[in-house]
Symmetry: D2
Subunit: 396 residues, 4 copies
Amino acid sequence: MFTFPRIPASKDLPMLFVRLLRKAEVTDPMGYGRLSVGTALRHRVSELGIRLGRLERGEGNSISDVPGVSVGHTTLIQGEGRLTVGQGPIRTGVTVILPHDRNVYREKVRAGVHVHNGAGELTGALQVMEWGILETPIALTSSLNVGLVHDSIVEFMLQQNPTIGDQDDVILPVVGECDDSYLNDIQGRHVKREHLFEAVSTAGKEVAEGSVGAGTGMSALGFKAGIGTASRKVAGSNLVLGALVLANFGGELHVDGVPVGRELGLRDTQRASRSIITVIATNAYLSSSQLRRIAARVPLALGRVGSLSANSSGDISIAFSTADRIGLLGEPVTAASHQVDWSILDELFAATVEATEEAILNSIFSSETMKGRDDHTSLGLPVDDVLEIMRKYGKL
Amino acid sequence: MFTFPRIPASKDLPMLFVRLLRKAEVTDPMGYGRLSVGTALRHRVSELGIRLGRLERGEGNSISDVPGVSVGHTTLIQGEGRLTVGQGPIRTGVTVILPHDRNVYREKVRAGVHVHNGAGELTGALQVMEWGILETPIALTSSLNVGLVHDSIVEFMLQQNPTIGDQDDVILPVVGECDDSYLNDIQGRHVKREHLFEAVSTAGKEVAEGSVGAGTGMSALGFKAGIGTASRKVAGSNLVLGALVLANFGGELHVDGVPVGRELGLRDTQRASRSIITVIATNAYLSSSQLRRIAARVPLALGRVGSLSANSSGDISIAFSTADRIGLLGEPVTAASHQVDWSILDELFAATVEATEEAILNSIFSSETMKGRDDHTSLGLPVDDVLEIMRKYGKL
Amino acid sequence: MFTFPRIPASKDLPMLFVRLLRKAEVTDPMGYGRLSVGTALRHRVSELGIRLGRLERGEGNSISDVPGVSVGHTTLIQGEGRLTVGQGPIRTGVTVILPHDRNVYREKVRAGVHVHNGAGELTGALQVMEWGILETPIALTSSLNVGLVHDSIVEFMLQQNPTIGDQDDVILPVVGECDDSYLNDIQGRHVKREHLFEAVSTAGKEVAEGSVGAGTGMSALGFKAGIGTASRKVAGSNLVLGALVLANFGGELHVDGVPVGRELGLRDTQRASRSIITVIATNAYLSSSQLRRIAARVPLALGRVGSLSANSSGDISIAFSTADRIGLLGEPVTAASHQVDWSILDELFAATVEATEEAILNSIFSSETMKGRDDHTSLGLPVDDVLEIMRKYGKL
Amino acid sequence: MFTFPRIPASKDLPMLFVRLLRKAEVTDPMGYGRLSVGTALRHRVSELGIRLGRLERGEGNSISDVPGVSVGHTTLIQGEGRLTVGQGPIRTGVTVILPHDRNVYREKVRAGVHVHNGAGELTGALQVMEWGILETPIALTSSLNVGLVHDSIVEFMLQQNPTIGDQDDVILPVVGECDDSYLNDIQGRHVKREHLFEAVSTAGKEVAEGSVGAGTGMSALGFKAGIGTASRKVAGSNLVLGALVLANFGGELHVDGVPVGRELGLRDTQRASRSIITVIATNAYLSSSQLRRIAARVPLALGRVGSLSANSSGDISIAFSTADRIGLLGEPVTAASHQVDWSILDELFAATVEATEEAILNSIFSSETMKGRDDHTSLGLPVDDVLEIMRKYGKL
């Protein structure tokens, strides 16, 4: 039984691992410096000819295909070798998703949350569940950095809305996390206020994938992973739905049904890493309870890629719609409209499963091998081998 | 776009359907008479060399591998041709799962429920969720027959426990359903008290699959389906976990990751049929909230076989443990024990996903083509074609 | 410690009980014959000068103040003396709440469910929770009669909608229950199809209270209870909200904060009886998740009247709005509108608490003493004594 | 309609308010300096002869009556007059509840969470709900200070458990909040790491009430409030259950059923303040799902004191049991035992309602009038007037 993260790469590396390492040519994985946004993009499954599901991809195949939605990352990579708490090595970051380009506190959007396995954190989730409303950006980060990122969003929101707590209600930010302790000096909590502000201020339509932002130190299904995104369109309409994942969970990697993990010799990594936070955005007009139901389709995608939702896995999803906006007292900011009928809803369910599955794979396919603290190494997926396997299984 | 159930087989059958029909040799699908228990078993995926997951199958690869658990079916098949409400054609039945061979009201078992998409019925679910306890057999049947089966279980329980409602608390039976209206005279509600009693009294370790019991008139993923079962063992222990499904849901059939549905020309059947009720049994000592979490792994299996959990799909799971028993006032009937630790729990999660996936496939592989009311026809999976496809995809 | 229902009234009656019996003049409690609708109305708290809360009562102080909503009861009272299962004594019935006077399957209404303590049954609840939609009447009855009433609603719906299960989706009726076994031959399951049909066909704006319909054999907080209703208006609007309860739960009766139960010598009756089903209706435009939140205010009213929500108590609430209607495929039947803002929502929360509290008290104040099977006796509240107590506590 | 917190006390004070102010003799409310622990105790309802419910109070009538449980506060009071963000006036703090005096990460306790109205934050709640386990202290603080307190608990836990994130799993602290913006410079987020550490290190059996710790700047039901505690014993056993509240919610104050708020002229304050976090501790052996059910009894107490659980109210409860402890991998640290039977459970439900009701009242009765930022004033309950009212209503 192969359990991934607890094995220091430099020493007693199992032979399989070595073989993979060699294939992936990990000669100098540490020449990253500080990653600039965008360079982490290595391979997207769409570029490799892998087609998942039946729906058409959105323009950019990204959560930012939903008009108004933007994403920003701050990536922190520094140091190597032995762990010294507070100094590094640092392999972490923060990612923010902005529902639209206006003040989200004053123009709230509808949202729903689904907790598939709650061994994780999504602060603000209780309020989103109760009100069906999202009124802050969504931030993703390292597990032990939730507090500081939470406080930083509060600061950001106060700057934007100085009357919060004076004339207006308080705010409870939405911050999700995964555990990057395998590669990162997690105790150091290196994501500070300026990093959150940078992520917000550089947010845009280009969504870097892989080892960026909150995804920097994450691994999934036995391989280096992190941030991934994808989208789907509803035929015959202008409706689009996009997914963004922070992938850090265990299981046996399946690509379009092909047991890639098993073929590469990696099985049963479920205890190895943990958690996936999924963010779904759409411009379809949906009620908050329909958005909760959208978020509840994410486990179907998890099953497809090989997750077993281990006991320690925080598998949490949040879905929001940009179709209408709600004011400070719950009053509508936009014109009344009708929610979609059930046939459209089914298409959006399908779009959710397909986009989430592809976003997860993108998070893995886009990630290079990374060496982190104590020389722990998370392998980039050996894509050539994978393509060979896909061909063997008649999928390319 | 091919939507399955609303197309009368005898008339304007699409060509693809005809081709499939021919392959499946539907020359006389109506010579069933009344199915005797056991004869419906056609193919189990294990017999075809298909291996799902990594855990070892239980002795009988059945929910009844869990000591004490037994299953009974009553299958009702009568008449053909044009629908006359109240007369037929009848393609329906009832299935009961008994947690142990003693009085389940006096020796209750721990249980948990997970509702993945609640567009279905599982009576008694609220009480199981609240108390974490199951105190009646579980019955499965046709959607419009829930009331009569509910009443029949009450009658059965009263015979066994004449002091109910006098000195003892009342009972709220657990009855799940799927919609067999495509093949069955569903308005006729043909499952009567004697059928429930017969299912209970004939319950045993042999679990017939396919078009039997509640599964008689069901279809899933575009093909005839019904009842399926499977089990998994936890290595190095005497722990076993079994699944039984009543499968009647839509989606695109995947067998071990192979897009069989698409290859056979059947896509997007999600609106066609609806719902799957899953029953999980184990002899592992688990708390009710752990059993809820076991039940919550079922969606991972649904994702693997191709479900999209459509809006109208009642995807509901119930899991129970036979490890300890609880008396009339919540007091223990068995000796105190400790719940399993988290590594065992993860194995049980894996077992749940694997057993459920295989049970669903068994429900399809075990089902012959069936013609029902108004000559509606649900095709048995063309197994030879499927094996060919599996070979093409390197899976056999 | 006084536990109410298990004490046969005729034999070893505690002295307190005897004193109460004498006061209530239970000389011939069995001269009821078959109660005709309406005659059970004895006292409503409003007629006694008791004022609960700050909002104005609706026109009729009834759930039927909500335009379109109607209520029907069938009351079954027959026989006396020793229990012979199947023959009686019978003290039971059925109550139906119709959301509007049109076909509720074709013009569905939004709804939400809250389960405060799920040791009870509300069939169909899972679907209402999932879809946020109610598409059948709501029926209330005796615990062991749920199956037959469920089947009867199916029959009623099929008569109204003959294409159900043919061209249209199936239906899953909403049936709630309480345990009337203290007074009623509960094993006899005396509510038959004709009784459900009668309740539906006689449903109207007049809502009889007390020992009528499903409430016939129920007791609450130590006294005879059953059906109660009340309503509240939102000032400066045409919005109204009404509650109807089937009250059968334990605790220590408080009337407007006055410990009436304690003063009368009745304490700790929580294990004695069990369950309360609450139905809330409003014409305010609310989303299904807001309606769930409305239903979630019911426990506040339960706390006020003295409930402790015992382990065996099925405390379940359902709220629906008549403001808009939804068609067969989830499409709107009525014009688009905006949900109410949060200040109105708060008023509706207040209305829910006040109307539910008053409905519970009405169910008790309206009920005469009743003798049932094996001469079990449930005492009508000694109203004169209560008024005296209220005066002593400065409340009248 | 009197809405409390938005009215600057110094200017256009309504006459009623002035009258109350005069009675409460608010001549110099600002001479507090920094409150030392314990001095805030003014009146407890037990000292005034008010008796709530039927169960006997615990030794100290405090959550710390549960063996092992301790509570610590850090109270921050500084400055007066006009608000300058970052400088004050400061009226805030932090409260911690420690489940036992050992390392709670290595000896976890069972726990359950109930969200009555989720418009608030309790970080870590999702994990407690999923695992049924509490592995960090519980901290309570000001809404906008959640992030910094969260980070501070992480730091505290890391000091105690340096292998977190290295060999061991990460931690997700439990931090609840209420909004103290009416009195406090909430934007300043004045609770820093040293304050959390001080609260932890000074935690003990003496539990100060009123305007201390997290309760410093809070108000409830129209009056100054904050922290309150109480406990109940289960007769004939060594079982005890205690409640601690952070009270900051609206409604109309009722004391033992007496409409004290209305009598004092204060009605409908529900929009004024918001939220109550309730912590329940017991030494009874309960499963996590039973603890969830304990937490779900809190709304009954809220109803009794006059809450309407307004839209903006975060009404969240967490209950834990000290009866057994769980190790790092979910394995038992203590000997196996049986959960309590249902009759004991009902007594614990009663204890929860009574202790919570009394804790809320203690939080109000123990609080002096406080003037805060911009001279906003929250009135201490005029206890003499209240006693007079209680007498008028026959309750003293």
